[in-house]
Every structure is written in C-alpha cells, then in structure tokens.
Symmetry: C2
Subunit: 370 residues, 2 copies
Amino acid sequence: MTLDVTLTARSGAARAGTVATARGAYRIPAFMPVGTRGAVKSLDAADLDTLAPELVLANTYHLLLRPGAEVVAALGGIHRFTGWGGHTLTDSGGYQVHSLRPSVDDGGVTFVSVYDGRSVRLTPERAVEVQGLIGADIQMVLDVCTTLPASTETIRLAVDRTASWAQRAAVRHAAIEARPEGQALFGIVQGGTDPVLRKESAERTVAIGFDGYAIGGLSVGETREVMLETVAATVPLLPEDRPRYLMGVGDPVGLVEAIALGVDQFDCVGPTRMARHGSVLTTHGRLVVRNAVHRTDDGPLDTDCPCATCARYSRGYLRHLLTVHEPTAWRLLSVHNLTYTIDLVRGAGRAIAEGCFEHYRQGVRSVWGA
Amino acid sequence: MTLDVTLTARSGAARAGTVATARGAYRIPAFMPVGTRGAVKSLDAADLDTLAPELVLANTYHLLLRPGAEVVAALGGIHRFTGWGGHTLTDSGGYQVHSLRPSVDDGGVTFVSVYDGRSVRLTPERAVEVQGLIGADIQMVLDVCTTLPASTETIRLAVDRTASWAQRAAVRHAAIEARPEGQALFGIVQGGTDPVLRKESAERTVAIGFDGYAIGGLSVGETREVMLETVAATVPLLPEDRPRYLMGVGDPVGLVEAIALGVDQFDCVGPTRMARHGSVLTTHGRLVVRNAVHRTDDGPLDTDCPCATCARYSRGYLRHLLTVHEPTAWRLLSVHNLTYTIDLVRGAGRAIAEGCFEHYRQGVRSVWGA
C-alpha cells in the first residue's frame, strides 16, 4: 500500500512526519497550493521550484474540459505537462458538485461545461480513469459535497452516494492499467456537520480501505467553530497510518487548529485569490496593500518574510501595480501569500518536532484572532 | 555631455558600439522592452535580470497619472521603484498626442485622464520636471506626434511646435535641480513622411543640441517601405556621435532594416502584446501557438531559443494556458518574444562586429518576408 505515514513527532493529536509515495516522500503537515487548470494562477513551475510546496493540487473537472485528460496524457501526464516535478494531487470534481450545482443521480454527476455549455458526465469510474490519464501522484474519489446548511435528508443522500461511489472508485482504481504505477487514491468523508452521519461516513469509507482519507464537505458555509468540532469528531475515526486531508481550508487559524486536531494536509485557493485582491498575509496579520496609506510606503510587505517579493519590492510599488491592474502584481503577491501559508504549516510541523506546538498555535491565534 | 557614442564596428551605415551614461554604458544596437506603468506587462524585475535588455522604457503620461511622479520620487525614483537597476528611458507623453487625441495648443497638451476623466496639462517644461522626478537615465522632450496620413499643414504645425517645445525643454532641463545628475535628454525629429519637413525638423532639433536624437512620428499608419525611406532621409542629418532612436518599431524586418540605415535603439509594445495574443516570434517565423494543431505538440516554441520558457514548457501546455486565459501564459510567452527580439537586435550588433551584417539582414528578411 502506498502513502504509509511515518510520524517523527506528536503534540497531543497534532502530528509531524513523512508520507511515502511512489515518487519519494512528502512531509506533513503540508499546505497544497491550488493549480486548478494546470498552473497556480499567475505562477509557473519555476515559481513552484522556489516556493517548494510539498504537493500541488490540480482540478479534474477543469482539466477534463480543457485541454482534456487525453491531451494531458499525450503531453506526458501532469508533471511533464506543467513542467513541475513535485508531488501533485488531483481533486475529483466533487467540489464542483457543491460550486456548480450539477444534476446528481445514483450513477454520477452531469455538469454543464463552463467553457462551451456542453453536457459532461462524470461517474466514479470515469473520475478514476480521467485521473489515471492526468497522472498525478494522488487521485481523489468522486464524492457528493453539499453546501451547508442542508437538510438531514440531503446530507444522508450525499453520504450514501459518496460511500457507494467510493466502493466503485476503489474497484475501478484496482483494475485500470492506464495510470501511473503506485498512483494513490484517497477516500472522502462527508456527513455535513452531523456527528452521527460523519461517523457513519468515516466508517464506511475506512471499511473500503484507501491510501489516505479526506474530510470533505466543510468550509462550505458553516462557522469555523462548527467546522473544527466536526473535524474533531471525524479525525479519531481515521487510521493512524494514513494521511488525513482537510479539503478547502487555508486560513491561518483554521490551519493551526486543524493541525492540532491531527490533520496532515490542506488545500485552499484563499492565499492566491486574496493576493489578486491585494489582501496580504503577514506575521503581523492582514495587510490591505491597496489602501492609500501605502502609497509612498517603501517598506516590504513583511520584514520577516523570506520571499522574493519582500526581498525586492516596496508596498508602494505593489500597491501601484495593483491599482493599475498589472498582472505582475498578482504574481508577486501570490508568491508572498503562498510563502506565508506554506511556511506557516511547515512551521507548525517544526514546532511539533521541537515540542513547542502549543506556543506556536497560540502565537498564530494571537495574531489572527480567536 | 552625456551619451557619447563609441563605435566599435560599422557595416555601411549600420553601427555597433556603446553609449556612455551616468550609470555606466549601454550597447548599441539595442531593443528596449516597454514597461508602460513601471512594469513590462506581466513581468517583474527578476525577469528583466534574466532578459538583460540594454534599456527599458517607461511612460511619463501613465506614471504621471498613476501613481504620480511625486510618488515615484518618494519611493526612490524609477530604478528603486521598479526594483530594476538597469538603464531606463521615459517617453515624454508625446506618443499619447497620437494615440489619445488630446487638445494641443502652442503652450502644451491637455489630456483627459484614462483613469478618472480628470483634465491633465502637460507642457514641455512640465514634461521635463515630471521626468526629472521619475528619474530615468534618459528623458524625452515633449513632442507632437501626428497620425498618418496627415495634411502638410498638420505636419508643419507639428514640426513647428515640436521645435519650439524642444527649445523650451532644453532650457528647463538645463535649469532644474530635481533630476538625477547626468540624466540625458533626447530631442525628437518629426515631419511625417515629407522629406522637406523631416529635414527642417532634424536641422532645428540638432541646432538646439541634445544628448541623443529620436525619429518620432513613424509606425503610425504608413507602410514599412515609406517608413524606411523616411528613416533613410533623416539619419544622415543626425550627428554621428549621438545615439539615434527610432520610436515604436519592433518587428524583425523593421529592426534590421533600420539598423542597416544607422539607427541605434528601438522600443515597441509589439513583442509583448503579440505574446498575450499567442503570436510567437521564432527563428523560423511566426508561430500561432493558439492554433489547434499545437494541442498535443510537446516541442518547445523554438528549438533554437535559449529562453526559460523554451527550456521547460511545451507548445501544447502554453496553448492550453492561453486557451483558458491563465496569466501564466502571458508571462511565459512575453519572456520568449522579448528574448527573441532582444537577441535579434543584439545579434545584428554582433554581425556588424563580425563583418557579416549583410548576410544576417538577408537571413532575417528570408524568414520574415521582404
């Protein structure tokens, strides 16, 4: 089985260590930047070399539509396609069940393409096949992610379909040959914020047996407190020796609190999306660099930041580029916000190893608010 | 006097050498990428380090409006502002007389701001002062650039105003203290495509005496043939020991033909604008990487290109990024097109030095058409 977890340190439920893969290993805890269409928005592979995230996420739904999974395969798979040789994970398209509201039935999902209005069918089996062609190191099962709040009936139906689809995905994944040797598959736990349904979903997913487990269906409308309660109720139901992935969370407090609960990896578009809007993450909290107060501010975004943007550019220059909509600003601020977020999570791992994670967590909370 | 030209080689009228500046020296012939608002669109200063152009152009009209010349000055001037320490030249705003059609009178130009509709007055004196604050290595006089075709009366008026403004600019430039030590000033020759008016404009401009001379008012609607005839008639009227700058030309044939006529430096938004539209300059001619034929093409844009984009990315991947409007594509293709254009002009200089410029010029013409 791939993705064996080797823990090197613990602090309560929080864990630090490595996850073995066919490509090598990645360190946990880890934050994964989102490269939806095969690039982290405005960045290239050389930028990723510098940022050096443990993994990068790409999106199956989008790559299936443009350029098509067969095209990615013809161009050598996601690593050669994007020019980045690090660990890559493809989301299944399940999140688009939440964000695009397609028609869902027991067999699968029917989307309308955002590109040309064409109808696109995704089944659990097809999601496995498509992700096999894309060729990331880790693929995700197709699941049903509901927007919250939702009725118990809606969540129960999502849990049932997610469990049934997970079984079908596992069977297909074991059978297909058109995928990289050792490509891992994660199951996804659903169940809204209902502890009973979460427990049932976790047990049914673990019973099938996956290389890793994701907690899906959160950060979709509920409060952070309720989200963390749900994570706290779910993590103990997942196997110790498998990585645990909380989908869609990337705010500083959400990250350290979920790490405290035993989560290993995360993805979120937040850091790059905020960057493009001029909202900057710093060791002193949020900085709105668009604000007029930074017009002639010649200091860096964050004096404590090691990124290339902080080494070279002033707040005043970055504010100017944002104001006149220069794409250069999006990239420079994305590099900064990703550096902050990747380092925050990596710093949590270091704090766990050094026995000071509680202190680290309180430090993050004191900057970013309870 | 700054900007003394030292020629190291000649081939007919074509010249290769260096231009001395307060910052050091730049090599000619030289192509200047356009960084209108303080950044070459989608690139940052680290990209410029790699491209290593001899000079970069910024635009006075745009920087005057956003963020304001005083803001650039407060942030340390254009070099510290942009983070790029190489040679910089500011255009005066005269080109915007052509592109934005402001109201022009004997005293100066009144623009409507493209940002907020505010009325903005630029006089020859104010253009010198603003460029002094911005602090580039070279500033340009405010001139009157007419769209072609134009009546003889229109062109004569433009020549008269350009000459009168050049005199006023030279006086102001000599007097002001709020500019970098050794900041150079170029005069601009106008006159449309009328040889008599060009001659008059050149003589009146040279009589005033500038650090360098630009040929303006071309590449604004006339054919390349007529443009080159006009350049051929103008260059011999300019002093040998001063750099000659043909404004707004950046296509391969235009560049080598103008170099053959004795022009030393150029600027053009073409290479970066074409890049953003997926039009790629290669040693084999134009490549439209958007075309469907490149869908699964895993070769580089140009096998003979040394740029970072060609070293790492396939045509298929770049086509995909363009198709889905990822800003990453604009940057990667801009890096390529600028590498091509900078190298083309630098290659011309090398060919002049090696005594094979005629061969080089014919090679470029055979690829790009007569």
